[in-house]
Each structure stands twice: as structure tokens, then as C-alpha cells.
């Protein structure tokens, strides 16, 4: 991967009171790369995403985007966050406004773009996920999978440089998981830079360029996706992957 480094994390430490959550994380994400972060519950992978987006303060270390530090005290988060799209587990569309207004809120109020131009982009994106006809519906009228796809579009419409996905299918019914993952696969194909936290192993293998395996706040293993799933180096990763393999063991 000879492309430029878009996101770089150096020696990131994060703790709540006296409990260490992230303990010296080093990570590089290149332009156009899809990085999947795996690890057991509570290992700190979601916290890592939240630190990148400034939703959690960090104790030490450095995070930079496009070569600019975004972890210093004076970081203008409302500017940085325009470049970092984030999608959450619980979708969190704004319930009091329509789908279209949800998507347009950022472009209009934060980026001060013209309504006409932003609406055109929003409608193009909605069409791509097959929900253009629901643009005037309210979030409560949509299914979980539809809401999550809209949440992705809401982040995309800000034209971010990198997208963060925090267990975006974890709250969905099984039959709705696929439609959301398909949208993300489509994004990867278009060359979007993505950092994904997920428990969907098959999806992780299909979408990832690089897999980062975290346990107890440390990166235990970091490798090419295919290599990670076929030949994990560490015992901890082998053990973790085995949990997901009960189908094969049985048959």
C-alpha cells in the first residue's frame, strides 16, 4: 500500500478513572483503505472509534488526520468532524424531522451549502440505497435496516474523508443486516476510506484490506485480511476466531 496516510494514531492511551481502556494504540489508515477492527467485547474497539471522532477525550498520544493533529487541546471538533463520518449502532436519526431533513441538517447548517445542491446530492445517495421514495417519511416509519442505511447516507452527504462504523448491524434483526452490509461493501468498492468495528466475520473478511485485532486495550495482531482469517499468528486471535467457527466444527 503506497498510498498516503490519511489517519494516523500514535501511542494512544485512554482510561476511565483508573481503568485503562486503550493502552498504547498505533494505527495507520491509508487513503482508500478499509480497516476492520476486531476483538472481544470490552476490548476498547468502540472506544477507539469514539476517540478518533473526539467523542471521548484521550489521556495521551496523538491522532492526526491528513497530517494535521486532531488531538491537541485547541482542536476545532466541529470542523474536524465534517471530515470524519460516523455511524452508530443505534442509528440515531433525529426523530422530529424527515429523512431528507436528517440528511440535509449537516450540509446546510454546518457546511452552509446551498439547499438545491445539497438536496440533489442527498437524493442521489438515497436513490442509491433505494430509499428515495421515503425521503419525506419520518424515522419512526422506517425499519431498523432502512434507518441505518439513512444514517450512513447522512454521514456520506457531508463528503467525509473517512467513515467510522461502530457495530452498525449489532442492533438489527438478522434479515436486515445484509442490506446494511451491502451498502458498506458498495462504499468500499468506490474507494471510501473506512474504519469498521464489527462482529460479522464473513463481512469483515470480504470487506477488509487490513484487520486489526485488539484485546485488553492493545493491538495484538495486525495483518492483511486474508492472512488474518486463514493463518492468525497469535494464540489470542486463534482463540477468538474459533468462537465463530462452531458451524464448521459440528459438521
Amino acid at each position: 500500500m503506497e498510498k498516503d496516510i490519511l489517519l494516523e494514531i500514535k501511542q494512544l492511551h485512554k482510561s476511565y478513572d483508573d481503568r485503562t481502556v486503550l493502552d498504547g494504540i498505533d494505527l495507520q489508515v491509508h487513503k482508500g483503505e478499509v480497516v476492520v477492527i476486531l476483538g472481544p467485547s470490552g476490548c476498547g474497539k468502540s472506544t477507539l472509534l469514539r476517540c478518533i471522532n473526539g467523542l471521548e477525550p484521550i489521556q495521551s498520544g496523538e491522532i492526526s488526520l491528513d497530517g494535521q493533529s486532531i488531538s491537541s487541546a485547541g482542536t476545532q471538533w466541529h470542523l474536524v468532524r465534517q471530515k470524519i463520518g460516523m455511524v452508530f449502532q443505534s442509528y440515531d436519526l433525529f426523530p422530529h424531522i424527515t429523512i431528507l431533513e436528517n440528511i440535509l441538517l449537516g450540509p446546510l447548517k454546518v457546511q452552509k451549502r446551498s439547499r438545491e445542491e445539497a438536496r440533489r446530492q442527498a437524493e442521489t445517495l438515497l436513490e442509491r440505497i433505494g430509499l428515495l421514495d421515503r425521503k419525506n417519511a419520518y424515522p419512526r416509519q422506517l425499519s431498523g435496516g432502512q434507518k441505518q442505511r439513512v444514517a450512513i447516507v447522512r454521514a456520506l452527504c457531508m463528503n467525509p474523508e473517512v467513515m467510522l462504523f461502530d457495530e452498525v448491524t449489532a442492533a438489527l434483526d438478522p434479515e436486515m443486516v445484509r442490506e446494511v452490509l451491502d451498502v458498506m461493501l458498495g462504499l468500499a468498492k468506490q474507494g471510501m476510506t473506512m474504519v469498521i468495528v464489527t462482529h460479522e466475520m464473513g463481512f469483515a473478511r470480504a470487506v477488509a484490506d487490513k484487520v486489526v485485532f485488539i484485546d485488553e486495550g492493545k493491538i495484538v495482531e495486525e495483518s492483511n485480511a486474508e492472512l488474518f482469517f486463514t493463518d492468525p499468528k497469535t494464540d489470542r486471535a486463534k482463540q477468538f476466531l474459533n468462537i465463530f467457527n462452531f458451524d464448521e466444527e459440528k459438521g
Binding site: M86, D92, Q111, P139, M158
Partner: protein
């Protein structure tokens, strides 16, 4: 029923109703303002101010409104502070209503989940924009029914201002009973006039509530 008495009394009631309405409007408007500011102090955990507000709320809600009014009107003269009866009435009702409105606003603000706030921040909204476009609209629609109930409650509670000699509806009714002993007629008119004042307000607020809460909630 003494219909002659009723017809003769109507202009007196009409005039008193205007006073009741005026005091109500002022008391409700100021209570909303006081309540709103108090709820912000609690929601944003403003140091010192938050504690003062909490003491005020407990004080206001756990003492009888009539006694609050007496205190303002008669009690404060001891320290050389003499308020006009009208001012006293509005101040007393605001003291009472402010705490109820504060609790109504606060419950709305607290109903807006943390994830909504993070979701707003993640699309780059500033703190002020977050409040304006995400928190307030949702909080307000949660608070609306309680605010409405408080407004109606305050209008009815204006009947205590007769105790500081303001000629409101209650005062006129008591006066007429004292002078003419037409108790049934005077009280019937009193009930009807309150109904006349409150019913339109009730209906108006219900309509407003439906409008504000449209398209709201439910995942």
C-alpha cells in the same frame, strides 16, 4: 334564580374576568421564562446557580401558594418593601409557576438521549446548533403536555389574588355574596366565567400540542 341580579352583575364579572386574564397571561409568561432559565441551570449543571435553583424549586413547590402570596404582600412590608397588589400577584404566581415550569422543561431536556447528542456532534454541529436543531425541538415536544397543564393550573390559581384585595373574579363573587346574599347566582356566574376563560385556552393548547408533537418519536 334571581335573573335581575345576574344581569346586573354581568358587567362586574366581565371587568373582573379581564383582570384575571391579564394576571394569568403575565404569570404564565413569566413562569415560562423563569422555569426555562432554571431548567437550563440544572441541565447544564451551572455551579452554585444549580443549587440555588434546586432550593427555590423545593421551596416553591412545598409551601402553599396562598401563604407565598401573603408573605410577599404583608410579610415584606416589615422590611420596608411594599409591593403593589398587581405586582405582588404576578410575582407570587410566578414564584409558584416558575418551579413547575422548570420541572416540565427539565424532564423534556433529560428525555433527549445521549446518543442523539453524539449523533448531532458527529455531523459537525456546534454546541449551539445542537441545542437549536436537535435538543430543543425534541425536549419541547416532550415538555409540552406538562407545560400546558401548568398553564391551566396557574390560571385557576389566580383565584387566590383576591386575598390581597385585587378585584378578580373570585373577589367580585365574594363581594356580591356579602352584599346581596345571592350565593347561588354569584357562584354560578363565577364557575361559568372561569369556564369561559379556561375552555378556549385548553382547546387552543391541545391544538398546539398536536402540532408540536407531530412526527415525533418512536423507533
Amino acid at each position: 334564580m334571581n335573573f335581575g341580579f345576574i344581569v346586573q352583575s354581568l358587567p362586574l364579572y366581565w371587568k373582573a374576568a379581564q383582570l384575571t386574564l391579564t394576571i394569568s397571561v403575565w404569570a404564565i409568561a413569566l413562569s415560562l421564562l423563569v422555569g426555562f432559565l432554571c431548567s437550563l441551570a440544572i441541565y447544564y449543571r451551572v455551579r452554585v446557580l444549580k443549587s440555588i435553583v434546586k432550593v427555590y424549586i423545593e421551596f416553591s413547590r412545598n409551601t402553599p401558594s396562598l401563604i407565598q402570596l401573603f408573605f410577599l404582600y404583608y410579610g415584606l412590608t416589615q422590611i420596608g418593601l411594599k409591593l403593589e397588589a398587581e405586582l405582588c400577584a404576578v410575582a407570587g404566581l410566578t414564584f409558584l409557576g416558575g418551579s413547575y415550569m422548570a420541572e416540565a422543561f427539565r424532564s423534556g431536556l433529560e428525555a433527549v438521549g445521549k446518543t442523539q447528542i453524539e449523533s448531532g456532534l458527529s455531523i459537525g454541529l456546534s454546541r449551539a446548533q445542537l441545542v437549536r436543531y436537535v435538543i430543543f425541538p425534541q425536549a419541547f415536544s416532550v415538555s409540552m403536555p406538562a407545560l400546558e397543564a401548568n398553564a391551566i393550573f396557574l390560571m385557576k390559581e389566580t383565584s387566590i389574588v383576591s386575598a390581597v384585595a385585587l378585584p378578580d373574579l373570585m373577589f367580585v363573587a365574594k363581594d356580591l355574596i356579602g352584599m346581596y346574599y345571592s350565593t347561588t347566582e354569584a357562584l354560578t356566574l363565577l364557575v361559568l366565567f372561569y369556564l369561559l376563560l379556561l375552555l378556549p385556552v385548553s382547546l387552543l393548547l391541545s391544538a398546539l400540542e398536536r402540532k408540536v408533537r407531530y412526527g415525533q418519536f418512536g423507533n
